[in-house]
């Protein structure tokens, strides 16, 4: 029994998620917790070499291991053996070419995890080594090997450019120009629950319980890859133990499906070790960014040049879409009339670049927001004033050319930040730096578009059922991976239906029970499904009150009002149990279904259909302004983030606690990106192969955070909300960068993250004009 069951859900209240208690007690079953009474283990032999032509795989020795049931190679795959969201360029089991160390060569099914491990170690393979590509620059060198010889773009997965106004020519009319080059690392998602699932194939039907963000897309993708018809494949997605984009796409699904079909009638389990997750899972794209920003003497931005290269690793995954979002957001939430923004997503033999919270925006914001500070310094404006001067309003275009048609609250965010004590008292705080310490304060802004853009339909289908017992079931198909969208759906439906939590129930994503809702990604989950749900609830309300009116032979539906468990007839005051009403209705009548498709922009920002398909332009954006206070230890280079504040426009808050949690988590993850997480590789091999050397921040590294929302109404959003899942991480790195530069007289880091070693190096270089060497002012 849940503690909150007697309370009534209301939109705008901080209410505990229904899964919270279950998770704390260990009752909630994640995909990792599914164990059949008698199950087999499946595991994969990975290549361990970055690039080569596969000649043969030898499984004979491994087959002799007692307990080994089956060993499969590409020869055993009856489907296309290719997966991928946009380009299907990734083999399930390698058939011709190994393109990174994490590629899967053979799939072993065994009775015990020990037998599995022994067998995997005995699999060997013959290959012809090919030279590898480990930087985006190498990919274009003369004679560079082609990673996908048939790809029309060569080693370039996708390139694009957005030019507005006079483009580069406009720099001639600028009074001040600043320039900045930075290199950003890959970032590992490091979710608690590594990629895992359990599958069973019985009577010609395949069912997979999996830790995923995308059950419906998984079904289609897996079905064609392994050769089963989609209606024979069911994907069940329990609460997911962390996703952040890393489970936006196939991980274990196809492998588990192959294993289950090879060994029918027994549940088969696969769970990647942390090392395997590091090696084979997607990462945030490493990126190289070159920025040039020009302004007039009065601080008004005039021209922007961006070059952004993304290392997408060996497969598309979502690399093209990441590039698209990065290009669209490259100029931040500012008016800049002239811009030339270009970028590439480049194939390499590194780990796979894919979706990660922020989806390209953290990379471009890292450069843009530092360029803004360089300009402020050059023109002797305060970082806040120069942002306010250039910040967009509704109706403006951002530099990529997208018109902002919906709520646009960056100016409100900045105004609120200006009034915050951390901003006002920053100078006093800095002066109190203890011995050997330098203190600085820095800010950064961001905007983040929601949803898939104009081309891929951004839809969700909500299903609502009045049960025979008179309770309401909400069937949702968009995964709750910990962000808490589940409770927001209860709040919306419960508020509209005026039902207590005990009268409401969630049915988690399951292609067999719920309806397609798209991915839990792109800051869209609550927005898109929420809109669909509201329609389903309204239809249900009308239907129930009308049926009640009919059966009581009273005037009309509007004579009734919903109260917990009952309908009250207002003129007479009589109350009818919902269960009684449910008994009058057939099964179809007790269900309402509603589809919502998010607004697709009609604006022509680019003629490039590839870019349109990859998501340009968006229509609804969230905004945020962040401020960080840092302290640098000059003896060690250690950086402590002492205080943090952020003001965000993500529409109205459905649940203020969840808003806080998203912001805190995103900021913590952003601090990891800025200061700790160095994904070090050598020729495609991981040198930081697990969490003992890949350092994510711990609780003691996270500063106190003051997080507020400007609470503007977004008219297209359910109850006025917009997404907050990604905007929280976008400006963290540059806020830290700007604070560090403020502390140490302009020193800036080129290769991120800013570890203590790099920081000490920056402190030891005699500091010349703002931003030593590469990152300098030009005019």
């Amino acid at each position: 029994m849940n503690l909150i069951s007697k309370t009534s859900p209301s939109v705008g209240a901080s209410q505990a998620r229904p899964d919270a208690l279950n998770k704390v007690m260990g009752h909630e079953k994640f995909a990792a917790d599914y164990y059949g009474p008698r199950h087999l283990w499946a595991g994969v032999r990975r290549a361990g070499i970055p690039h080569g032509r596969l000649i043969s795989v030898s499984t004979e020795a491994a087959k002799q291991v007692p307990g080994v049931k089956k060993i499969l190679t590409h020869k055993d795959v009856n489907g296309s053996n290719r997966q991928g969201v946009i380009q299907k360029d990734q083999p399930v089991l390698v058939d011709d070419r190994i393109r990174h160390c994490g590629d899967a060569l053979a799939l072993v099914i065994a009775e015990t995890s020990q037998a599995l491990e022994t067998a995997l170690a005995l699999i060997s393979f013959e290959y012809e080594a090919l030279p590898g590509i480990f930087t985006t620059a190498e990919a274009f060198q003369y004679g560079a090997p082609l990673i996908h010889p048939t790809h029309p773009g060569g080693n370039c997965l996708l390139s694009g450019q957005l030019v507005s106004g006079k483009g580069l020519e406009a720099f001639e009319a600028c009074d001040a120009i600043v320039e900045l080059t930075i290199d950003l690392p890959r970032q590992e998602h490091a979710y608690l629950e590594t990629e895992c699932g359990e599958a069973v194939y019985e009577k010609g039907e395949l069912s997979i319980v999996v830790s995923t963000q995308t059950p419906f897309r998984d079904r289609a993708e897996t079905a064609q890859a392994i050769g089963i018809s989609p209606e024979k494949l069911r994907i069940i997605a329990p609460y997911c133990g962390g996703g952040f984009g890393g489970k936006d796409g196939i991980t274990v699904q196809s492998l588990l499906g192959l294993a289950a079909m090879a060994c029918p009638d027994v549940p088969i389990k696969m769970m990647w070790s942390r090392e395997e997750s590091f090696l084979a899972g997607p990462k945030r794209h490493a990126a190289s960014l070159h920025y040039r920003l020009g302004a007039k003497q009065n601080g008004v931005f005039h021209a922007l040049e961006v070059r952004a290269d993304f290392d997408t690793g060996p497969y598309d995954h979502l690399g093209g879409a990441v590039l698209g979002l990065a290009l669209e957001h490259a100029g931040g939430p500012y008016r800049i009339p002239h811009a030339a923004i270009q970028g590439k997503a480049v194939y390499t033999n590194n780990t796979i670049g894919g979706a990660f919270r922020g989806f390209g925006v953290p990379q471009v914001a890292a450069a843009m927001e530092q360029a803004v500070d360089l300009m402020a310094e050059k023109l002797s404006l305060s970082p806040l004033d120069i942002r306010m001067k250039n910040a967009v309003q509704k109706g403006d275009k951002i530099p990529s050319g997208t018109t902002l048609k919906t709520s646009t609250g960056i100016r409100e965010c900045l105004a609120r930040l200006k009034a915050h004590p951390l901003y006002r008292e920053a100078d006093a705080w800095k002066k109190k730096a203890p011995a050997h310490m330098l203190r600085g304060s820095g800010m950064a802004c961001a905007l983040h578009g929601m949803g898939y853009g104009p081309f891929v339909p951004d839809t969700a289908i909500a299903k609502l059922e009045l049960t025979k017992q008179g309770r309401f079931k909400i069937y949702f198909g968009v995964v709750d991976m910990g962000q808490g969208n589940g409770v927001t759906f209860l709040q919306m439906a419960g508020d509209l239906l005026n039902q207590n939590y005990e009268n409401l129930e969630l049915v988690l994503p399951d292609t067999g029970l719920t309806l397609p809702c798209g991915s839990a990604s792109a800051s869209r989950s609550t927005y898109t499904f929420g809109n669909a749900l509201i329609q389903a609830v309204e239809t249900m309300k009308t239907r129930l009150t009308q049926r009640a009116a009919d059966s009581l032979m009273v005037g009309d539906g509007d004579e009734f009002c919903f109260i917990p468990g009952h309908l009250r007839h207002l003129p007479t005051g009589r109350e009818f149990p919902l269960a009684q009403l449910a008994a009058l209705l057939g099964p179809e009548e007790r269900i309402t279904i509603s589809r919502y498709r998010a607004l697709a922009s009609k604006e022509t920002v680019t003629q490039d259909t590839a870019l349109q398909m990859h998501g340009i332009p968006h229509t609804v954006f969230s905004y945020t302004a962040h401020l960080a206070h840092v302290e640098i230890d000059t003896l060690t280079g250690g950086i402590t983030v002492c205080n943090y504040t952020a003001v965000t426009d993500c529409g109205r808050l459905i649940n203020p606690d969840l808003y806080q949690q998203q912001m805190q988590g995103g900021i913590a993850q952003g601090l990891g990106y800025a200061l700790y997480e160095d994904f070090i590789t050598d020729k495609g091999r991981l040198l930081t192969a697990n969490l003992s050397t890949y350092i994510i921040p711990g609780a003691l590294d996270i500063p106190p955070m003051a997080l507020s929302s400007v609470d503007l109404q977004e008219n297209t959003g359910p109850f006025g909300m917009k997404g907050v899942g990604e905007i929280c991480i976008d400006p963290v790195l540059p806020a830290v960068a700007n604070a560090v530069a403020d502390a140490c007289g302009g020193g800036r880091c080129r290769q991120w993250p800013l570890t203590c070693e790099r920081m000490l190096e920056i402190l030891t270089i005699p500091v010349c004009p703002p931003g030593a060497d590469m990152n300098r002012s030009l005019i």
């Binding site: 011995a435 050997h436 330098l438 000059t634 003896l635 060690t636 280079g637 250690g638 700790y676 160095d678 070090i680 040198l687 930081t688 003992s692 050397t693 350092i695 921040p697 711990g698 609780a699 003691l700 590294d701 140490c744 007289g745 570890t755 203590c756 070693e757 000490l760 190096e761 402190l763 030891t764 270089i765 005699p766 500091v767």
Partner: protein, 291 residues
């Protein structure tokens, strides 16, 4: 999965050890090594049910404090004797791992792992700790700095266990200091660490000093020359500290690994000495620029 044996008495434990079995104390190093297949023991001898107090007690023996090898870090941190006599050890253990690791991990385990990054080791070096090794034929004592011979290597004979750690009380030191440089504030392996004990004259000049660095060499690094340069230096006078810092930087040849490069370690080994100075080090604000 290895079998686990739970001896009740010291004699049983020593018998089992003599048979070549592996000791399991807190398991916080052992299980990591087993997972990595660095070792694959058939049998583990767990210390949890041992009735022998020597392994689990902290005792005051007059001039020395004697610590059982199986005492956990958390219990040491809470122990009044350790708090009173060896603040430098407490400071170091406070930075070791996380609460969970400190609750499970033992001082004996940290010593036996003999990692250059072992956080208890620099304090134990400057405190002149001795180890007592017990075997079926009795026990022997030797200094910790002689006992540890390299990364993961000690002078323990196969049939012996590390039984107790003996530390002389330190009346002559006024200042205990430990600093660890890590990539984050908890659960962090030292990139570098330094323990310091300083004794002062009435006018706050250094009359006695001991320094030891972790993660700087193959074992804990010490430097009598660096200590010598600090002798007589007033605590608020940077000059002597800067000289001493330069000396340690000259002396060491640290490793480079994924955690940090050798140059960083060398530079910071000196910088940590500068931290001891209680006077202004203004020129250092923009980086010491040494090396």
């Amino acid at each position: 999965m290895p079998a686990v044996i739970l001896p009740q008495t010291l004699d049983e434990l020593l018998d089992l050890k003599a048979q070549g079995h592996t000791i399991l104390a807190g398991g916080t190093d052992l299980f990591v090594h087993m997972r990595n297949k660095k070792i694959q023991p058939q049998t583990l001898v767990c210390l949890d049910q041992l009735k022998d107090k020597g392994l689990r007690e902290v005792a005051d023996t007059g001039d020395e404090i004697c610590i059982g090898a199986a005492v956990t870090h958390s219990r040491l941190i809470q122990n009044p004797l350790v708090q009173q006599h060896f603040p430098v050890l407490i400071q170091a253990l406070d930075t070791l791992g996380s609460p969970q690791i400190r609750n499970m991990g033992t001082l004996g385990g940290n010593i036996m792992t003999a990692s250059p990054a072992g956080d208890s080791l620099p304090p134990l070096y400057v405190l002149d700790a001795q180890v007592e090794l017990a075997g079926k034929n009795g026990s022997r004592r030797m200094s910790l700095s002689r006992f540890i011979t390299g990364p993961g290597a000690t002078g323990l004979n196969p049939e012996e266990i590390l039984y107790r750690i003996w530390i002389p009380k330190q009346p002559s030191y006024d200042l205990h200091h430990f600093e660890k440089v890590g990539h984050r504030k908890s659960l962090s392996i030292a990139i570098l660490s330094m323990a310091a004990l300083i004794g002062l004259t009435g006018d706050r000049k250094i009359r006695a000093v001991r320094l030891a660095w972790g993660s700087l060499g193959k074992t804990i690094a010490t430097s009598p020359e660096t200590e010598k340069r600090l002798m007589g230096t007033p605590m608020d006078d940077p000059a002597g500290f800067i000289l001493a810092a330069a000396r340690i930087r000259e002396e060491v040849s640290p490793i480079s690994d994924v955690r940090a490069g050798a140059d960083y370690r060398r530079q910071v080994a000196g910088n940590l000495v500068l931290r001891l100075c209680q006077g202004p080090l203004e020129p250092l604000k923009q980086g010491p620029g040494a090396v």
